[in-house]
């Protein structure tokens, strides 16, 4: 009797593990630590990946937009188009490779104190397994010098997570809160996924280093699933230091692309910081 139950349960478990990556796509938009000194060139990696499991990585098309909205203190916000810095590249997962992009941004773009909100509007990605398209509007917020700026301001994406806590100033073990927005309006009970960037990037930024930092005992812990509350607010615990991807799924207004279903997701990357030694 026990063996009869064990086999199907194992099969179910395997299915869940195999299915997990399809539900855990994250658009990576990464350039190292969130708190920087400024006045230095920044090397961005843009890849569509599974940051916890490491594989598979998926091909990116030419992004629709890549830009920076920077603002410090009481100064006016400034938007800078970064599309000219995009370069095609190949990103290496642990076992797979895919088309990706890099962007080397000149030092002049990070000279100013304050918040630098980097925004990527990728091309829709066709997910053959599900016969559907995915488009993840992604933000990564870096801060120069500790002067706060526009981290709490929406940039006006169709699908967006607007921080309620500074996304570059959360202690490991702390809580990050944000609002899930669709065209500027909160999305009650939005479906949310959270995933840890479990593999450091190679020095060239074009692949994961081999060897995960941490491995969960159960595949279910690779991606944390949650819902926003009735106001559209999410509250996410960040149990250890590093980068955490927070995604709100299917919250954008467009639901179809080239005759197939489209999921417009919002992704925000948050770095949890460890206590100084």
């Amino acid at each position: 009797m026990r063996n009869m139950l064990t086999a199907p349960l194992s099969a179910l478990s395997a299915c869940a593990f195999l299915a997990a990556p399809a539900a855990a796509h994250f658009q990576v938009l990464h350039a190292g630590p969130a708190n920087i000194g400024g006045g230095r060139a920044l090397d961005f990696t843009l890849a569509f990946a599974h940051p916890f499991a490491g594989d598979p990585v998926m091909d990116m098309g030419q992004p629709q937009a890549f830009y920076l909205v920077r603002q410090a203190g009481e100064q006016e916000a400034q938007r800078v188009d970064l599309a000219e810095y995009l370069r095609p590249a190949t990103f290496r997962g642990l076992q797979t490779e895919a088309a990706a992009f890099t962007a080397r941004l000149p030092a002049s773009l990070t000279r100013g104190l304050g918040d630098h909100v980097f925004v990527l509007e990728p091309a829709p990605y066709y997910e053959a397994e599900e016969d559907t398209y995915i488009q993840q509007f992604t933000k990564t917020v870096l801060n120069v010098g500790g002067l706060p700026g526009n981290w709490a301001e929406p940039v006006g994406l169709p699908a967006e997570i607007v921080p309620l806590d500074r996304p570059y100033g959360v202690w490991a073990g702390g809580i990050f809160r944000g609002m899930v927005m669709s065209e500027g309006e909160p999305v009650p009970f939005a479906e949310v996924e959270v995933e840890y960037m479990n593999h450091p990037l190679d020095p060239d930024g074009l692949g994961w280093e081999a060897g995960a930092r941490k491995l969960p005992e159960h595949a279910v812990m690779e991606t944390i699933s949650a819902r926003a509350d009735a106001t559209g607010m999410i509250a996410v615990a960040l149990p250890w230091a590093g980068w955490w991807g927070i995604g709100a799924l299917g919250v954008g207004p467009e639901t179809e692309h080239e005759g197939k279903p489209l999921s417009q997701d919002a992704v925000l990357w948050v770095e949890a910081l460890s206590q100084p030694e």
Partner: protein, 114 residues
């Protein structure tokens, strides 16, 4: 309104006022970064950790012998620019008011990078 209710209301307002007044002071430290512009000048940008402006704050650049070689105020754009000193052994003093001061040293000027 009953007296005890008025007392409670006054106390609540008082607490709110104290919290409001204490708020800005609780997280308000000076921030400054200085950059070599690559054209013989240095620009320092300053503000406060709560995002408030440092416009009008004094900046004085002194040599190791404490001789002032440049002096001015943070402008409306949050910056102050001065000629790159011949000797990099300088101190850049930022004084917003009596309570908020900050000093950067010459070797903390971010070198020019394209």
């Amino acid at each position: 309104m009953p007296i005890d209710r008025r007392i409670r209301t006054a106390a609540a307002l008082g607490c709110w006022l104290v919290a409001w007044l204490a708020g800005p002071a609780a997280a308000h430290s000076p921030i400054m970064a200085c950059y070599d512009n690559g054209d013989g000048s240095v620009t320092c940008e300053a503000g406060f950790s709560d995002g408030s402006s440092a416009t009008g704050a004094e900046v004085t650049v002194v040599t190791a012998q404490q001789r002032a070689i440049a002096r001015g105020n943070i402008g409306a754009d949050g910056t102050f620019t001065f000629p790159m000193p011949d000797d990099p052994d300088v101190e850049i003093h930022f004084v917003a008011d009596g309570a908020h001061e900050l000093t950067l040293f010459g070797d903390e000027i971010v070198p020019f990078e394209n």
